[in-house]
Structure formats: C-alpha cells, structure tokens
Symmetry: C4
Subunit: 375 residues, 4 copies
Amino acid sequence: MVSNVTVQPPLTAIPADLRTLADYEKRAEMHMTPDVWRHVQEGAGRGITLAENRAAFDRIGFLPRAMADLDGDTGIELLGRHHAAPILLAPLAYQRLVHAEGELACARAATALDTGMIVSTLSSIPLEDIAAAAHALARDLGKKPAPLWFQLYLQPDREHSLQLVRRAEDAGYEAIVLTVDAALKPAGITLPPGVDAVNLAGMPRPRQTSVPGGKILLGTPLAQSAPGWEDLAWLRGVTRLPILVKGLLLGDDAARAVDEGADALIISNHGGRVLDGLPSPVELIQNVAESTAGRIPLLLDGGVRMGTDVVKAIALGASAVLIGRPQMHALAVAGLPGMAHMIHLMRTELEAAMAQLGCPTCALLGPDRLVALSR
Amino acid sequence: MVSNVTVQPPLTAIPADLRTLADYEKRAEMHMTPDVWRHVQEGAGRGITLAENRAAFDRIGFLPRAMADLDGDTGIELLGRHHAAPILLAPLAYQRLVHAEGELACARAATALDTGMIVSTLSSIPLEDIAAAAHALARDLGKKPAPLWFQLYLQPDREHSLQLVRRAEDAGYEAIVLTVDAALKPAGITLPPGVDAVNLAGMPRPRQTSVPGGKILLGTPLAQSAPGWEDLAWLRGVTRLPILVKGLLLGDDAARAVDEGADALIISNHGGRVLDGLPSPVELIQNVAESTAGRIPLLLDGGVRMGTDVVKAIALGASAVLIGRPQMHALAVAGLPGMAHMIHLMRTELEAAMAQLGCPTCALLGPDRLVALSR
Amino acid sequence: MVSNVTVQPPLTAIPADLRTLADYEKRAEMHMTPDVWRHVQEGAGRGITLAENRAAFDRIGFLPRAMADLDGDTGIELLGRHHAAPILLAPLAYQRLVHAEGELACARAATALDTGMIVSTLSSIPLEDIAAAAHALARDLGKKPAPLWFQLYLQPDREHSLQLVRRAEDAGYEAIVLTVDAALKPAGITLPPGVDAVNLAGMPRPRQTSVPGGKILLGTPLAQSAPGWEDLAWLRGVTRLPILVKGLLLGDDAARAVDEGADALIISNHGGRVLDGLPSPVELIQNVAESTAGRIPLLLDGGVRMGTDVVKAIALGASAVLIGRPQMHALAVAGLPGMAHMIHLMRTELEAAMAQLGCPTCALLGPDRLVALSR
Amino acid sequence: MVSNVTVQPPLTAIPADLRTLADYEKRAEMHMTPDVWRHVQEGAGRGITLAENRAAFDRIGFLPRAMADLDGDTGIELLGRHHAAPILLAPLAYQRLVHAEGELACARAATALDTGMIVSTLSSIPLEDIAAAAHALARDLGKKPAPLWFQLYLQPDREHSLQLVRRAEDAGYEAIVLTVDAALKPAGITLPPGVDAVNLAGMPRPRQTSVPGGKILLGTPLAQSAPGWEDLAWLRGVTRLPILVKGLLLGDDAARAVDEGADALIISNHGGRVLDGLPSPVELIQNVAESTAGRIPLLLDGGVRMGTDVVKAIALGASAVLIGRPQMHALAVAGLPGMAHMIHLMRTELEAAMAQLGCPTCALLGPDRLVALSR
C-alpha cells in the first residue's frame, strides 16, 4: 500500500457518522493518496458515462404500496446457490492500493455477511490465498462459505488463460467471469511498491506500443488479442464451471452470448472507465432482458450506491447487482469492519425500501413499482 | 431544548428583512445546533425526493386572468368546520428541539390566526397541554378555537394506541390523523435532555434490532407492527372522530382507504424523509383525485413554502395544504411571533396570487389556471 | 440619489471593456447601494419567472441563411410613427435611484438615438420636465423628437387618473400605456431622500392595510381599486391618444382588450416582479398573435438583453420590444452616455444578427428562421 | 507573440500529466496573456452556441458491439488524397498570438503526423512560408507532404482576393476553403506588436464604421462586401483547385453550394464566435447529408475535443472533422511537440473508441452505433 504522511491510516472502529455509503465515499479521500483517489474515482473522457451510471438510477422513482404485509426476505437463488441478498462484490483490481489487507479483508467481510465475491485477475493477493481466507473464516464461523467467483482477463497466450482457470477451479471458485470490454484500456496508474498483479507473475502482459505516424491500435497485436466469440467458445470447452460474460450492454450481444454457452451475464460498462458515452446498465437492462427472454440470469454492475438502487435494478429485470467503487471506499476507511458495515448498510437500506414498496421478496419487485421522475 | 454557545437565542420581535418563508429558512440555521439543523432539513438517501417536493411546484406555471373582479376570500369548509384559509400546521415531532415553548407556541399562533393544527404523537409537550393552551387563548381572544387534530403513530401494543386516541378525544381534538408511511424510519437524531416523546411515557417503543448476518427488517416484529389495513378498520371501530389517513400517494391506495372508512386523506411522502425516489404529492394529487372522485377531501403535505404553492395544490384538487419544516424555521427564529408572522406571510402571498389569477375564491382555482413551465 | 461611501460615482466616459449589455449589468452593482441593486435585480418569490424571462430566449435557436443580400434597415412603423429600430425604453419607476439625472438622461439618450421612451407614472422627475428635455434636445439636434408615451397607474380616485392623462396630453406624450398587472404589488424599497413619485404629489396612494386575523387583500378597498375592464372603457372615453394595455400575457385577455378599444398591447409579466410562476412573454407571444390576428401591434417586454433577443421577439410576432433593467444598469454606470451607448450596442447587435440570418428588414424575420435548441 | 512576466513560456517536453486535450486546455491559460486567453476561448453573446457545440456531442451516446474483429485502420480518401485519419487542422487566425513559431509549428506537426492543415487568410506567418516549412520537413522525413489547403476571406476588392488565390496555388496549396459566415464579425482583440495579418499587407481591410444615429451595418459598404453566391461563382471561374465552402449549417444552403460548384462543404458555426443561438454542426449534419445526398464530402467543424467526438461526427455523415481551439491550447503549452502530441492523442482516442464499438474502419461507423443519452 502507498504510504504518505498526509494519508490517514484506516480506522479500526466505525464512527457513528458513517451511516450511508455516501458517508464512506466522502471520508475515503483522506485515506488514500491523491493518485489513488483519482484512479478509484475517475471515468473515461469527460466522465459522462460515469455520471450517467448514477443519474440513470436517480431518474427512476417509486410507486409505493401502503399498509402491505411485510413477511418475507431478500434471498435469491443464483447458479444453483442461495444468496442472502441480491448483492455481490464486483471484481476490482489491486485492492491493496487502499488497504494493506486488500482482497483478504473483502473476502472475510463477504464471508461474515454471506455475500458472494468476484475476485479479479488483477487482484493484489494471490487468488488462492483469498479463497483460503474466506474458507477458513467460514469454518471458524461454522457456516457454508459464500460463493466465490473468479474474473478472467484473457491473456495474450491462451495457455496462460488456461492456467488461471485451472488455478481458480483448484482453489474452489464456483464460476468464471469472462470480462470482454476492457482489453484495450490503458492501466491508468503507476502501481506503488508492494502492489502488483500477483496472479500474472511470469506471464507477458498485453501492451499498446504505438509510435507517432505508425499504427496505433486497430490492426495491431494488441487489438488481435482482444476477446472474441471464439474465445468464449474455447473457454466453454475447457471448464465445467458456470461462465458469466461481463461487459455486455445490448440485447443482440447478450443473446449471442447465451447461444455461445454463457450461463449468466453481467450487464456493465466497466464503471464508466472504458468508453465515455456508453449508456448506463440500468437504462439498458430491460432491453437485454427482452432479448434473452429469461434464458439466463442477468446481473447489473455500475452506479449501485444505495439500497434503493438494488430495488430498481431488480425491478427492471436483474437477478442481482454488483458493488464496485464502494468497496474501495469502505476498505480504505476501515478495512474489514468497514467492508462488513458497508454491506450491512446496503442490505438494511434494501430491506427498508422493499418494505416501503410493500414488496417483501425480490420476486414481487417489478416495473409496476417504478415511475420516471419528471426532473 | 439544546443549549450551545454558538446558537443564537430566538428573537422576540420580527426584523424588517424577514419578508418570506425563505428568509426564515435562511436565518433559522443560526438558531439551531448543527445536529438539529441537519435533522430538520435532511431527506432520505440522496435527497432526490426532498428536492423533488420543491421542484415539482417550481415546474408549474400560472395562466393569469387580467382585470377580474376580486371580491372574495380564502375560506373553506373541511370536515364540518370553517377554516379561514386552506392551510394547516403539519404534525411535527419534537418541536422543543428548536424552541423552549415548542408546540405551545405553535398552538397559540395557530389560534391567533384561526389556523388548524395537527399535533404529533411525538410532540415534546403533552397533547393535553397543547390543547389547553389553544383553548385558553381562544377564550381570551373571545373566539372559537381553530381546529386541533391528533396525529397517531400506531404503537406495538394496540392498547397503547387506544389510550392515545382516548386522550385526544378527551382533550378536545376533533380528528385523528393516522400516519401509515413511517413505521420503519430510524429516529435520525439523539434527543437532547428535556426533549422527549412525552405522550408515550411508559409505553415500549418499536425498534429495529438487526444483527449482522441475521434478519434485518422484513419478517421481523418491527415489520409486523407496521400499520396495515386491519389497523385502519380497528381504528374506525373505536372512535367516532373523523379519521384522516396520512402518507398515501397513489390512487389505488387512496380509493381503498376511502372504502375502509377514512374521512379524508393527506397525500404525503413524509417530507422526503422516508423513501428517496418517491414522487412529490403535487405531481400525484390529480391521480388521487381521479381515483377518489370527490368522495372525500384531499390534503397535500410536502414542499409548501409560498402562497403560490398553495394555489397550485388547490388548483390541482387539494382542499388544503399542510406546512411542515417552515414551522421549525419560524419557531427557531422567533417563537410564537415568528410562527404567527410566518402564517400571515403565507396567507398574504396566497391572496396576492389568487388576485393575480383573477380567482378570488378557492373554488375558482382549477387546472385551467396552470401550465407546465418549459424548463 | 442615494449617497454611500462605497458606491462609485457614474463614469463620464465609456471604457473599452463595456462591449455588451451584460458588461453593463456586471459593472452596475458597484454603482448602486446594495438595497437599490437588490431592488433593481430581484424577482418575485423564488425568481422562477425572472429566470424564465431569460431562459425562454436562450432556448430559441437560429436557422441562418448564407450569402443573402443585406440591403435594408431596421426601421418600423408603429401607431403612425416611424421608429429607427423596433426597440423602446420600458417605463421604470424612480430612475433617480441610480443616477441624479434619472429620467432626464434617459430621455436625452433616447432622443439622440431616435428611440421611443415610455415614461412611468412613478418617474422621479415630473413628466412635463422629461418631455421638455427630450423636445429641447431634438430642437438642438435639428431632428423630430422620438416618440414619448406615458405609462399610467390608475389612482384610487378616478379624478387623479384623469389629471395624469391630461398632463401627459398637454406635455406632448403621444400615447397612454395602461398597466394592468401590478396594482397589488408591494413597493419593495424604502425611497431615499430626494427620490419620490413626484407626479403623484398630493394624491393619496393605494395601500395594503391588513391586520392579522382580518381581511388581507381579497375583498378589501385595495383589491377594488385594481384595474378592471370598465377602467379601460373609461380611459378610452376620456382621451383621443392611442391606448396601449401593458401586462397581458394570454390570447383571451388580449382579444378582449382589442375589443375594448386598445390600440396596441404590451405582452409583459412585469419583469418577473409580480407573480412568480408566470411564463415568459416570448413563450406566449405566438399565442397572443394568433388570438389577435394582426388587428393591433404587439410589443414584448421582459428579458430582452441582446440584439438576438430582439430578432427572436420580432420573428415570433412582436412589432417591437421594450428594454427594462438594462436602462438602470447603463444609467448607473455612466448616465446619459451610458444610456446612449447601451442603445447603440443593442441596435448594432440587432443588425449583425439580422445580417447573419440573411434578413435585412424586420418584415423578413419570421418563425422559419427559428428552431428550438435541444438543451 | 505577447510577452508578459506572468505568462509562462512554452514547455519543450511533454509532462506525463498531459493525457487528454482537456489537460492541454486546462494548462493553456497559464501560457497566454489574459486577453489572448479570453479571445481564444470566448463565444458570441452569452456563449450558448459555444456551449452547445460541446453539449450536442455529449448528448450522443454509443451502442457498443462486443468481441468484434478489430482489423482495420482510420484512413480515408478525400478530394483525391489519402488522409491517415479523418482529422484536419482548422484554419485559425494569428497563431503567433500564443507561440512565436505560430503556424510554422502547426505545419511541421501536421506533416510529421500525416495530418491535413488549412491555413487561414489571417495567418500570422506568410502563407508561402508555411507551405515551404511543411514541404521541407516532408522531404527531410522522406514522405509525401500532408494536404495543405488555403482558407480565403474575400477582400473588399476582388483583385486582392484573386491575388490570394494565385499565391496559394503557386505555393502548392491543394484546395481553397471559402469562408462565408464571418464577414461581419468584429476583430475581438487588439493585435500585439509582431502579430499581424501578413498575407494582407498592402490591402485595405473591411471595417464597420457606424456613427450613433446613422446606418450601422445593413445597407452599408461592409454589408455589401459580405460573400454572396455570385462570389462563389466567380471563384469557381478563376481557379481549378477544389473549392470547399465553410460556414454553412443547413441543407438548403448546402444543396445550393453544391449546385454552384463547391467540391466539399465544411459544416460550421465558426466555433460559436459569430451568432449566438446557432445550433451545433453535429446537431445539423444529418440534415445536410440528406440534402446533399452524398454528392460531395461534408466536413464538420466545431466542438471536437476527443476521439469519441470524431466517431460521432463520422457516424452521422461527416467525412472528416476539423480541430480548432485545441491547436491554440497545444501550441501555447508546448509548441511543435505539443501540437504533435495533441494530434496523436486525438487519433489514439479515435482508434480506441472505434475498437470498443467493434468498427475498425470509418466506413463501418453509422448512426446504428449511436443513441441519444437520456440526460
């Protein structure tokens, strides 16, 4: 982790004024270096997609139902497993940028709160160690581990991609999440000492190598190594784990991914970090749901910051949502307890919103409870 | 009341630069502690509903009528009583947070200006004392007391709810306002010494008691104690007072409340304090009016800050409006005279707006005088 | 005029950085007391109408015509007189609030630039002196005086209204402008020594005299003295001068005013100073034009700050526009030369815009040159 | 170039934090005098068109295509020449205002990056010297020079216009760009010593010469010297070079320009500098494309600041775009290397965006990849 005299160390207990994820976000800046803060928060280009990921949620209003029965719970079934709530931790690169325990703290908090976690190819702790930490805590608590999935960035050499899949299988990961929208994104930050893509040790990394006047990207080896449909087919052939495709936004691509063997999709624009101008997932998920017609579960990633956002995503057709940047905020502010508190806040808000809508189960949430706000 | 060296005491006379409710709001911050100020002003979540309660009024424009006859007045009949203007004081919790005289000052100002007042279950002065103060002043002034209504939060034990109803009946309250939208809202502020829910002394309070990993809200005793339709039926059976249901927003729920015996409805989203994303009452009241088809009066609560807002609400189908946060502002700034002045300002603005529209009575105000502003 | 150590005296020459009316507005604040500045700039309520008067212009875009012939001029005929451009000075109260020469400076600048001026009942220089100053300068310059009109606020006593009309006729005013939308507006500022409604010396003024609990406005003598259709009929009967009605916004009222004998209308919401929520004149003028079907000229008042605004108003059906607050800005900054410069800037911008649109005469400007901007 | 103690000299190397054209813009202010900065950045009137040129791009969203083949390049054919990317340098006046090397630095950077450049009539280096610098560098680099075009402002005397055309032909310019929308625009800045319209040495300049009370613009000699259709016909008759008409926005004018012999059009509102209220080129280009039906290429000028903007313009029917103000920013910050870096950044972003959209050639970009963002 970066050390810097002006960066405050993480808290070890949660102060009373941290009552929402927005409180964590506001406080997080003082627990990161300016470079890391910018890296965590920034979006591509002018930040239009980044802002839109929030604004699209804010434009959706609720139609409440008064005095309804409130007997129910937030549980869902997904890819054969029970989840206590329709909320998972999104795959994030380099979580040790903001806290020394990095992904280990996240995995333990997720375990304690029965919350699924997706570990990134670019995790700053080896994928095996993360799984081991989660499993050990589950044993200590006498409970079944929460689902762990592995997010895969395809490597220039297919053999290296296969190694990652096998390691994930061996470590007990229960699904592979293939990201298809970020192969051409520049790194965006110089990693400080002690933070690295440890899972890729010894593997060559794809790089943009343009020179002025020469080819830049199109037609270069970097472009050729970007994921294609044949890569999904290959992956389908080499693993029995369920495969989720992450980074689609439109119905056509989604339908094809189902045809090619995906078991679930994560509708995402990569948190607004890749192509500025992409619409938000919550704007598009109904279109995707129509195109895939219930054949597979859809997860939504991007802009989720409150329990009401979860309700909106579910009501529009998502089976569950991913939480991204708020992990970095909570982890920076207070490590493991921060992560656990953040997840608990989100779930508490989710239940309160479901109660106000008179919908005590996820299955009862539908577009009839939503209305466009006239803003 | 909270004491703090930096908090200015209430004024005892009204300075000339307090000419609108906005002036009171601006000044009020210096007469409260930061905690109380935040508590008074804040909305749920990102404050979208809180802002929308204002924005929805601001989007409505007027179509004036020139050179009309201006002979008339603002009086209305409501639940068998005459009101000098279609304006009542909304039920607010803990008014002693901002002024030592709290609800007593409000009741006296309301009496002096012939304005109805709704006293909260969570008043910081016993409901009997508030009624007594109003009645005593009316006697002194030789006038009939303005209508006093009692707002009821159902208690976990029905017997306690019944006690509150009987006490209100005995103290001369003329109607019961059953709030149905806030049973699951957290308190939001730690009460300072001397401010408490005195009406509930000796009664157990509903509480959220979740532990990480366990049930949070849905399916818990707290959720079970939230108001249901059977509670309205029960209340209808135990009192002869008119019953208003507060906290509905949609036509379906409103129609059912009428069927279940409500005598009037207060269309409200609880001032944006409960579920962020709810539309504003003024946006929805026409829908409610259509569903209830004139069977009972509709009152509107939320965002009313100017005389023009009253005109808009009436023109869209409300019989009257409630004033909420401006009470806290005026009370903090100048206690009883502040409250009286605030009510007078609102009524003066109301008359001026009616005059500009060429509508000298409330009955003449209709949607034909309104237009959506192109903003 | 108010004196105050922090208020800068008016300039006597125009610095090079005053190139637009916006430059004058920005600079004007330092040439007025804070009270006067607020009084000049403020709108009623939350300022929605004030802002809308600008925003409505800004939402209108242009469709240019390239490489057109530019032979023409901005002249128009109005009520039997030629105007060099479709721009007149709006009636403003108390112009000595911002400059010792007040209305005299305006009248002389208007004369020098062949611009019509409407003198207010509430002018701070006697109406006779203003006319005399304009006529004297026209004689000196060897030109015909620009049109002078007199704006009439009806007085509680009809005899006093008649006196004002007769004085205006005697002083050479060429039309009477009857304002019908502001009888109930409070004064808004305490006049400093030396500034007063000199035309009304000796006449009783209408006042709001409400007491808490009593009647406020509707049904009071003040409301009864507001202008009615019978007052327009009376005025029509006592003068042969053309009568303009100022303060209408809608087609119905406009059509009736024509039926009742008005010779022209000034579409106005009183600069957003009277009823907050009124739409802007530029938003409504097409509706008025349809209702009056070319029977009389329409003038537009409100929000005009640039030459492009004049083009938009004319293209939508106005015969001419009035300039209001910019007079106070220019007068405060630089007195007579400021006023003359401001008028010249406006006309230069007007010609440049007409040229870009390929429309070298006002008659060529029509709605086919406009488009709603997608903002 | 202006010298001033507070103006920082241009950088000679590119710091790592200059990663986008926005970074250059932010930094540029410290490398210009306040007067020059204002002159570079400002728009006409209230800056509505200036802002709209950006906002119109920002309202356009993308529909991505996942996992597509990325073999291709950004090359286009235009007026018989190959361009490495659909990006040209717009004609700008007086580039020595921001850097001593002015247009020479631009021409060399353009040559190094195979980018077309349009030289302004108002260049601050003689047009012959600019062409010579470009050609010399191309020889040194052993490559064919990038296309150089000459932008023509018609002079009051046609003979002087002809001289300019002949000089451009002689110097090897490959096309004439006739600007038709700015003849009546005031200069806007006082040129410092050493910066001048050197191409016009010895020629009289058109001037606005209004006096208060007299004619201002319409019907004056200045208006008569504005470009007309007969001027285009004349130009067509005196040169064999391709002629582009710059400054049209609408289909009707565009179709006529094609009929009159234009070989290509540059859709432009002059960067928002001429008539405030004009819509943006990107808003109108589809209309122009329909009117001209593919008869000639359309170029788009105005608001282009990112690679995604280029994609949007191409997808809507442009063959290429011009870059305007970013030249001044890059030139001020770092002269020739700044210009080259800026062009390279733009092209890198362009390729990345094309890749995300799954469109590896310009021909594949169409409106099916775009969507209006719901903002």
